[in-house]
Subunit: 869 residues, 2 copies
């Protein structure tokens, strides 16, 4: 096996296609060298194969020989020798994984310097430059490769500066630099128990191993978990001959973008420093010049650079991000890559590049350039600055940022909002009784609960920022503590529901705007997916439905009726639950019917002409009663009112050990047979009202939590009976959710009674894994992801291993019984791009997601179709 490839190696395919082997950085260096013939300092890449072999069984056999051979070739090409006391070759060593990844070992510069070769460098340049380069190397190597705390060097450096009376680093004279080098070497000896390595081959092996090891560093692992990068890819290592932008005033270094990565403007953009090394640009100590100013300092090099930018854009057909160095007037390209960009920039670039003769992106290519995160950035407000004081981090439950005064009860929040204050509602967790406080809040913060907790689900439905399950937030009365800070009622905090950050104090927000390119991209996406996969929204109210429609929803895939049972309806629902006689129960159901009729009417009006899938009541009944713990405490203290005594009896009766697996869904219908008929009557009356008003209601009725054909058959009878009784003449279709493993496996039988299927992949995931999302996501998920026990959080991206197989199988079996059966998905996964790809492959007709994710789903559906060819 070959582990090492020179930048000019002639691969069988374009190096850009070998990122898995060469890493992103290595692939781009090879591309620039071997394909574009740009001025790149020579070097070679140690492949990810070597890293994987190292992780499995230590330093790979044969790797040392390969590295030595490539070094020899490099020395021959450059006409210099590593460690040569006359004219030494120096190299940089950089990590480079398939995906760009902070947290790994970054860069070691000037490798090859030792007590001898520093003399050769001095001869070739000057003493101050040579000794300064050597002390920089020891400092960098000691810190990065050998893990010695940076302060130990910094401290000595400051002393030396004082001793030399120097204002800037460059003023320290060679003699003092030499003493500093000796002091640095002492630090290394003390920490490592052995002297600083003098043999360049040893230095190089140490640096390579450090890169390999940094792949499994804590920050790198955490980054991969967050960015969903597999842990078994490994990183490549790039060894490149050094050029010196800090050699003299005819030298310099910079970073450049071929277009503006913040705005998308088609104009080169970048920072530049005369007589400096790359780290000086990044460190931000000296004020950088922009590229326009470079034109003044180095006009010829500037023109050459812009020519290279043009070639890069033509070649990559995208905006590129580069690092370059000028050594004594000669331009060297140190690296390039397709550049990261903001959402606004991504949209502008993609659209403009379709009209740019240099690129001529197709609409499909433009659509593929945009990610869900890009759209999210455009749709939701963000912190306008990175300079914030994070006091806690919770789960990113609902994207967007919000600022306001902290209030700790829904009533206080509502009162403050009524006074005109901007409010963040802070609760341990929320319940339906907090809804009036949630409505008025800018954002919601909870200390407990997972991504399907009440707070999270409600907030996402409304597109309101929320951070939930911030476990370090400890609430006590009208204050909370977190990160050593106490926040009292009325103090200003900010939350970022896109990242889960909780911030102390006011933060400026950049408000989302929808640029024209947003609509262009989505209209192209719609053209691509026309006739294949449609996108619906989950919406429970007329207002939500209207928002969804404005985002391009083509129907409602999930109208939950339980939200209609809350607020002022709660007393009626409780009367139904507490009913002692069938008459009392019927009376309560009648009251609910009247209320639901109005709800349904609004939803049908907002979605007029488009299908609306109404799911009959799903949650366990005890969710509509006060919490049993609170009632138990009151009972123990003798403070239950008569009404509460009845609630307590009912709560005990309906209490369940595992409500997720208890009396909910169609099982409620079996236990309370009048319930579903009432809901269907209300719905049909609403539909009839709409027809009378000249509307075109399209009604689909969905039965939740089916496990057997017989169960669905019974529910279907109830629905058909109620539809028939209503005698509206309006066609309705009757389907079921597929959200238990049994329903998926026996989809062949269930299809006999169903006009359509809608996957409830959240419940399906919970049951397939035996994971209660509420319980597992806070406590276990991060451990599972960090240790690689799970590749992805299966509640964010559908698990292809088992849940995905159930989806595929259920579609196949359902359509074997009923060819052309309409199948969709409603729930969180319906808005996740990767999951949408799987749903498209499984043959689903539609996805349904929260209104604010509809644009992302439209985009992802188009991308899935493009990817499947």
């Amino acid at each position: 096996m070959t582990y090492v490839f020179a930048f000019d190696y002639q691969h069988d395919v374009p190096p850009m296609n070998l990122k898995h082997l060469l890493g992103g950085k290595g692939a781009n260096l090879a591309e620039m060298t071997s394909v574009l013939a740009l001025p790149v300092p020579h070097g070679f890449t140690i492949s990810t194969d070597a890293c994987r072999a190292y992780m499995e069984g230590g330093w790979p056999a044969g790797l040392s020989d390969e590295v030595a051979a490539h070094l020899q070739r490099l020395e021959a090409t450059m006409g210099k020798g590593l460690g040569d006391p006359a004219d030494p070759l120096l190299v940089s060593v950089r990590s480079g994984a398939k995906f760009s990844m902070p947290g790994m070992m970054d860069t070691v510069l000037n490798l090859g310097l030792n007590d001898d070769s520093v003399q050769g460098l001095a001869k070739q340049t000057d003493e101050r430059f040579a000794y300064d380069s050597y002390r920089r190397f020891i400092q960098m190597y000691g810190r990065i490769v050998q893990g010695i705390p940076g302060e130990e060097f910094d401290h000595l450096f400051e002393q030396a500066k004082v001793q030399a009376g120097a204002e800037s680093d460059a003023e320290i004279p060679p003699a003092i630099l030499q003493e500093l080098i000796d002091a640095y070497k002492e630090v290394v000896l003390k920490h490592m128990g052995e002297p600083f390595p003098q043999a360049p081959a040893d230095q190089l092996r140490g640096a390579i191993e450090a890169v390999f090891k940094s792949w499994n560093g804590a920050r790198a692992v955490a980054y991969r978990v967050r960015e969903r990068i597999p842990h078994d890819l490994g990183t490549a290592v790039n060894v490149q001959s050094m050029v010196f932008g800090n050699r003299d005033d005819n030298s310099g270094t910079g970073v450049g973008f071929t277009r503006n990565p913040a705005t998308g403007e088609n104009r080169s953009y970048g920072d530049f420093l005369v007589n400096a090394q790359g780290e000086d640009v990044v460190a931000g100590i000296r004020n950088t010049l922009n590229l326009d100013e470079m034109r003044r300092v180095f006009p010829a090099v500037y023109d050459e650079l812009l020519g290279i930018f043009d070639r890069l854009e033509r070649h990559y057909r995208d905006m590129c991000d580069t690092e370059f160095t000028i050594e004594q007037g000669k331009l060297w390209m140190l690296q390039t890559r397709v550049g990261k960009r903001t959402g606004v920039a991504a949209l502008r670039m993609a659209v403009e590049m379709t009209a740019d003769p240099k690129m001529e992106l197709t609409h499909g290519e433009a659509v593929q350039r945009i990610t869900g995160d890009h759209l999210d950035q455009v749709l939701h407000p963000q912190f306008a600055t990175a300079d914030v004081t994070v006091i806690a981090t919770g789960l990113a439950a609902s994207p967007g940022a919000a600022v306001g005064k902290a209030y700790f009860t829904a009533d206080d929040a509502a009162a403050a909002a009524a006074r005109g204050e901007r409010v963040i509602l802070v609760r341990s967790e929320t319940s339906p009784e907090d809804v009036h406080g949630m409505i008025v809040a800018q954002g919601i913060l909870t200390a407990r609960g997972g991504l399907v907790s009440h707070a999270a689900v409600v907030a996402r439905g409304w597109g309101k920022p929320a951070v939930v399950g911030a476990e370090s937030v400890r609430i006590s009365g009208a204050t909370f503590t977190a990160g050593g800070v106490t926040v009292s009622e009325g103090d200003v905090i900010a939350i970022d529901g896109t990242t889960g950050r909780v911030v102390l104090g006011d933060v400026a927000l950049s408000l989302g705007e929808r640029p024209a390119e947003f609509d262009a991209i989505l209209s192209w996406a719609d053209e691509i997916r026309a006739g294949t996969m449609t996108v619906r929204a989950n919406a429970d109210t007329g207002a939500d439905a209207a928002v969804a429609r404005s985002f391009g929803a083509e129907g409602i895939g999930l109208c939950r009726t339980e939200h209609m049972f809350l607020g002022e309806r709660l007393p009626i629902v409780r009367r139904m639950i507490l009913a002692d006689t069938p008459e009392e129960e019927t009376a309560a159901l009648e009251e609910l019917r009247v209320a639901q009729r109005a709800d349904f009417s609004e939803v049908l009006e907002a979605m007029d002409g488009l299908p609306v899938t109404v799911r009959l009541l799903d949650p366990p009944l005890h969710e509509f009663l006060p919490r049993i713990e609170e009632l138990a405490v009151k009972a123990a203290t003798g403070t239950l009112s008569d009404e509460e005594k009845a609630h307590y009896r009912a709560a005990q009766m309906w209490h369940e050990q595992n409500p997720m697996l208890g009396t909910r869904g169609v099982r409620l219908g079996v236990v309370k047979p009048g319930l579903y008929a009432m809901q269907v009557r209300a719905l049909m009356e609403a539909a009839s009202d709409r027809v009378a008003a000249g509307g075109h209601p399209v009604v689909e009725i969905m039965i939740p939590l089916t496990v057997t054909r017989e169960e669905l058959g019974l529910a279907r009878q109830w629905v058909e009976q109620a539809v028939g009784d209503a005698a509206t003449g309006i066609d309705v279709t009757i389907g079921t959710m597929i959200e238990t493993p049994r329903a998926a496996i026996r989809a062949d039988q269930i299809a006999e009674e169903a006009d359509f299927f809608s996957f409830g992949t959240n419940d399906l995931t919970q049951m397939t894994f035996g994971f209660s999302r509420d319980d597992v996501e806070g406590r276990l998920m991060h451990l599972y992801l960090e240790q690689g026990l799970l590749k992805r959080n299966p509640f964010e991206t559908i698990d292809p291993g088992a849940v995905g197989e159930l989806v595929h199988e259920a579609v196949k079996r359902g359509r074997a019984t009923k060819p052309g059966l309409k199948v969709g998905v409603c729930g969180e996964h319906g808005g996740d791009p990767e999951s949408i790809t799987l749903f498209h492959a499984a043959g689903l007709d539609y996805v349904s997601c929260s209104p604010f994710r509809v644009p992302i789903a439209r985009l992802a559906a188009a991308q899935a179709i493009l990817a499947s060819g």
Copy 2:
């Protein structure tokens, strides 16, 4: 389609194989008529096809014509006409389903009588007999077919008797009978709005429809649910010409068994009445004679009957149960069937019939004659009488009957037992803190909880009778009320854990005994399954393991380690959970290690030389803490001790919404990495102790609740590390439970890390259906079974539709990765005969069940093997 078959119809196969079509009664009548040529009154059977067609779409087209044609043939054969005013033919109409089924329409006799034909009958017999037959017919038809309350006729009959001054029914003179008939007809007219049907064809159609409808009567449905009979079989209807055992003193009627159904003795047995109809024998108004006495009254008929018994036994190769009538000296066989028998009788008959030259049953056939219920009856005490006062019925959680004084706390029960009293522990539900009271109790009764509640699981493990979830039992302090009765502490009650009955007062028990035939049958079963499926037990202690071994267990398939964490160990476990530092946690784990070492040693000793599968800790940690509700109440009332405050904090931290889907199983190991290593160290030390003592421990270590290969790989590393550290030189195998749908689906990957699989079908069923057994079994299951939404309780018999498919698939996929992978099942289904059949078909190597079900599993495994050929 042909719906009607005469008894003498020549079917292509023996009628006994057509029970699905002819029903049991019809098949046996055809067998006796067409194969054995016994004296059976002529008649015909309307098949179950007709019943199913009726249930689908009403009276089947063509059925009337077929019935009319068969009636004509019957009239020709008998030389009499239905409704003939001179010499009428009378028929009986009886239901007859594939399986014998109380609750359906039983019998209508004397059909064909009307105002005219009664005159004909009078001419052929006498007036009193004829009018009495007619009034019986109207009464029976009115009650059974027309649904008129029986009291209305009974009342008139009593009046007539008084009017006639008659002591017995037979003394009522014809004139008063005629008046009575007119009064009966008035009752019918009043209730039905039309006169009593006079046309025999109308009478017959009414009776046939009544049989069809009775299939879906409430009692029949409930019976089918209990006996697990599908609701879609339908019943047949048998129409048979009447013979009269009440014609004169040369007539009679009786029931006879070819052997004694109670003891199994090889001697005919039965009851007989002179001058009577069948209903008189059953009604028990007159004292019956036994068959020996019949020999004296009707010597020739007696000899003929015994000759028929002999032919029946030769033909059916089993004990038969018959009904017969003698009309004016001629013997008629009205029906026969293979007779029901007690467990003792079944064992004795099966063994004796292998040596009976008349039958020569093979050992395999003998084994197939025995059911699990037969063995259960022999193993557990039963109520010795049916005359008991049932005050409540709960779930039959652990078989056997028990009698004792009711006590309401574990402490009171223990104190009473110490005084020498026999105790029934009565609790709302039990928890680990009640164990000392459960140990001393004869039996356990709880008002709440399902078949996997703590009380049920513990009781079954010990073979101790238990009734759980008796919802009508309302406990208040040291009394409970149920069925309108109040039971106070110290009152004697009895429970029957085989049927779920709770009985007031003392009840005599027939103690189970193990007759010699028990061991014979099981040794034959063992020969049959030798080399295929082995039977293990679930046992957690040395004592349980010893019991299991005495019942023939060939190893332990599930040794739960959580029970070792209770009792006096609970404080240590709590210290581990509450540990603030790794040191405290390690110290607690060390203490537990010492304790567990002794536990494991006992288990390994009891099972020396046989495999013992130890499951590492499985339940959620909060199960080891006091109940959060109780702590919350104390917190609210300010009565928490310092220790309880710590418990409360921990209980809140470990509290879960759905503990079934939370932090349990291998997830505990991920959260508390030292836990599993401690358990493995204790186990290896125990194994080492056993080797030192000359024993042969066979150790298998099992990881619970796996969902991914990576998870099992990590757990395997911990186990291998701890096994290696122990350096005992003892081989262990490491496997996993397959109890999540994901594990079953990805068994191919999981097998890479597993030496064996053991299905946890209880959890697998919970997750596949989304049924929390604790929550669903009490509230929903009966509704689902009664309404046919489920055919079986999937927690009793494995659901072949989905859970069974997952088992099959997981075995296939696991062995595709690792051919010869050992696969078993542990848990309730492992002791259920039908489930064992599925496990055998799926290729499982062993089943494991509670010690007391081991004999049943041995039997069922043999039967599964025999059935699969």
